[in-house]
Symmetry: C2
Subunit: 532 residues, 2 copies
């Protein structure tokens, strides 16, 4: 029977320390539910009393299906009873089933940072755990700076752990607080600890300061630890915490441990990871292990044909197990096999003859050389392919547009900025001339264009812009740089598609991407062009 | 005496497989020089004949100070002599001092992917290495799929390595081609190999598909391997290769190995890593081990005051050793100690009284809540602080601006887009009204604004925009999203500074960032405002 590993997520507490990340209370609720659905055993919700967000979260905590909610806090201060420690009192008021208490496990830390004696520190740990167990079903002890403390003075570091254990802590979690410990050190030290404390009571909490947080977690598990603390996508202060998204598939698919994550939940891992980043407005890491958009991408012509023959040679797992998919890139280095594979994957029922293939490769290569990128814009790619093959009707012609942005004082003496777009398009021999305003130049242009097309193509009404991304391609030229715009659109049928536009002018690039977005919608709706 | 580890960089070959990365020949030359300066032992320049970029690179290779240049290729095809193999002939024509040959070390791969017998594969390896040594000073063998091959059939995998060794290969490099091997497996297998092949002849080449590439490299070194292959910033196909930028400080500072990287070169590591990303127009990873902007950042108020007391508690190395620096963040969670630390670090000779501190914290908090981010815009942060304290003179007032973008047919019947900006500013009681065009709306606005200010503030002439970045903050609203613009500027005195602007309108946000960039330049020049 497979051994059980317990997963403890601290995204909502340690992950909230990430530079550039700010969770609202509503974010926290949603993320907690997603972690629960994933099959995480313990979800650390935050630090009651530390800030208004955490207060709001614990005031109306999420209802969890399976996971246990943990509140985080510090062991009591020196010279107070645990029952009268204001920090602990606030913590207990959160009334969570689990309380996690962090404390020192290094003599140098206790004496240097807290200014308390070694004995008082042991009493602070034991008293706080005992008091926590009067308020919660389960208490655990996060041994801060454990590995550095153990190197300094192993006897005292172990005494801290034993104080927590004897006081009733369910888990003793060994924390590599400053992230500097290497995997072989973790394995050696945890093995020594496991001679005194059973592995089923030991957890590991690592940071990525040497790019070894995942390996350090695995090393601790090999040495006997049975709980792993980490975060979604490796969020966390400095270089981040251990990345649960990388650890989960390794534990389940490669090491055969039993974890709370079912096969079905594992198939949502890629989606969960990317949605989480999008919610935080972080660009998902294309190169993330298991779940990155490039994790199963094959660029070299040589590899691509080998992959088509026998995927296992270049793929260490079946990407479908984690909800990811193979992606064969179209690029400079691509050959015909890449192109055909890409067509097949995109569901493009296109089988170009050799002459057409050569033409397509030349067209794509030329576009890519000028800054177009189709990795994130499959709708534009499909249009490029189908247009080159003569399959896309001619829906409309742009005659001209003009966008005016003005910043001036309004009637109330405030500086305001307005954007207005006028556009002239020819549809089936007739000119439409419209004007619209918007929250910015591209928004105004989008409104004017769709207004001009509404009469002829009424289905465009249900279409909307979901995302708009700008990337500057040659930043050494400052504002004169080339701009790439990627637009994501959606419609009432639930379709979502991405298009790309490139130009030296950001407005022009945006128009190109908007144009493709509209044409793709008309094409998949099989709209009839009026001139056709 | 410390043991020597040899570093082999494959950024220019395996790194070129990264999705979204395209090196030009000039890029390759510059990167090779930088790797040489860093102290890399072997630099793999590319695959001669594989594409025009690599052909151009080897046609006029860089002059290296210390590193040895390697050309990469495949062992001979089946049924040909190595001397007549067209691939090898092209490779030898590159006339590099080192030739690296990749070949199969798995029976299943040789038979399945190449369709050759086990014996023929051994002959292909030995013949190719022997022939390479007639053209180069040194040859090495990259054993593709070694770890999977060893698990399948250890005897045959070892026979492949021995064939290369006996033919004279200086290094036998064990490749985890699909990246699926875990650290404990690497350590066990390399230890077994090292019983047959001396560690001073063994290299390791890993990929990051389980987020263990760095740990796998370290595991191989522990088992005896003495060469590590990797890339800058972990570039590479799929999830990337082993990240040399993380490995170098660990090998040198923590494990005490002798490597080609001097203490002085190590202090340029952060700069090298970030410049490399900027050149590729990739955003440097804030959370990168050792070199990330957040690697020594402390957000929580609790940590920040502890760090100020005793940095080693929360920092595993002195950031200066790798050319990085401590960064105490200003954020929601920040306290007064964070703020003061930040001032000191920025060289701001500002010592606000408690009332001013409260006001500053409130102003910063409000701005951050509305989307401003000062992490990457220290000039805007300084202006915000100094303005709040009344230290920044009033240089000019914007009265109004108007930007017009037009797309229409020009005289030659081509669709062209033009951008024109008019601006009215009041300087010292006088109105300046100017018009300028540009490559896009922001470029035009920048031109018009600086034209309007040129007479009063002539030093602005030497200022230029270096970079322009756009980020959309609430993408769920599509083009109506809030936009954050970050502008980097430089001047003739060699200063470089970053400013930020936020607005619902991209033009407005850009103007705000431009405004700060100009004010900061005037402030540091101690320009006298005409009304003052």
């Amino acid at each position: 029977m497979a051994e059980r590993i317990w997963l403890y997520d601290t995204t909502l507490r340690d992950g909230a320390q990430t530079q550039g990340v700010d969770f609202g209370a509503a974010d926290k609720l949603r993320i907690a539910k997603e972690l629960d659905d994933l099959g995480i055993d313990y979800i650390e919700g935050g630090w009651p009393g530390a800030n208004p967000t955490d207060e709001a979260f614990f005031a109306s905590p999420p209802t969890l299906r399976r996971a246990r909610l943990c509140a985080f806090g510090m062991t009591r201060r020196s010279g107070r009873s645990a029952a009268n420690d204001p920090g602990l009192v606030t913590l207990f008021q959160a009334r969570t089933p689990v309380i996690t208490l962090v404390g020192k496990s290094s003599a140098r830390q206790a004496e240097g940072a807290l200014g308390v004696t070694r004995e008082e520190n042991l009493a602070m740990i034991a008293d706080s755990i005992r008091e926590a167990l009067r308020h919660a079903e389960e208490a655990m002890f996060d041994a801060e700076h454990f590995f550095d403390g153990f190197k300094d003075d192993p006897g005292y570091a172990l005494a801290c752990l034993e104080a927590a254990l004897e006081a009733g802590a369910r888990w003793i979690v060994l924390c590599d607080t400053n992230g500097g410990t290497l995997p072989h050190e973790v394995e050696t030290i945890v093995a020594k600890v496991a001679q005194r404390i059973p592995g089923e009571r030991l957890g590991i909490h690592t940071h990525n300061d040497t790019e070894n947080a995942v390996a350090n977690s695995l090393a601790a598990v090999r040495a006997g630890a049975r709980q792993i603390q980490g975060t979604l996508n490796g969020l966390g202060e400095r270089c981040g915490n251990a990345n649960l998204v990388s650890l989960i598939p390794t534990l389940k698919l490669k090491l055969g441990y039993e974890i709370g994550v079912t096969d079905e939940a594992l198939r949502h891992l890629t989606h969960l990871s990317r949605t989480f980043d999008e919610r935080l407005n972080r660009t998902p890491n294309r190169h993330a292990a298991y779940v990155g958009a490039s994790a199963f991408a094959h660029k070299a012509g040589l590899h691509a044909s080998a992959v088509a023959k026998s995927p296992c040679f270049y793929e260490h797992i079946d990407p479908a197990l984690v909800g990811n998919s193979r992606d064969i890139l179209v690029s400079d280095q691509a050959g015909r096999s890449n192109l055909l594979f890409r067509f097949a994957e995109m569901g493009l029922d296109v089988d170009p003859d050799p002459e057409q293939t050569a033409e397509l490769l030349a067209v794509i290569k030329d576009r890519e050389a000028r800054g177009w990128a189709y990795d994130g814009a499959t709708a534009s790619f499909e249009l490029l392919v189908r247009s080159t093959l003569g399959q896309v009707p001619h829906y409309f012609d742009l005659v001209s547009f003009r966008v005016i942005d003005e910043r001036r004082f309004n009637a109330r003496g405030e500086l305001v900025t307005t954007s207005e777009a006028t556009i002239k398009v020819a549809v089936g021999g007739r000119n439409y001339y419209t004007v619209a305003d918007g929250n910015g130049p591209v928004n105004a242009l989008d409104h004017a264009l769709r207004q001009a097309l509404a009469e002829t193509y009424p289905t465009l009404e249900t279409m909307q812009l979901v995302d708009y991304k700008v990337r500057i391609l040659t930043p050494e030229k400052g504002t004169a740089a080339v701009t790439r715009v990627i637009i994501e659109s959606g419609d009432a049928e639930g379709r979502v598609w991405q298009t790309v536009g490139v130009s030296g002018n950001i407005i022009d690039a945006s128009y190109n991407a908007l144009h493709d977005a509209i044409i793709w919608k008309l094409y998949v709706d099989r709209a009839r062009a009026p001139g056709a």
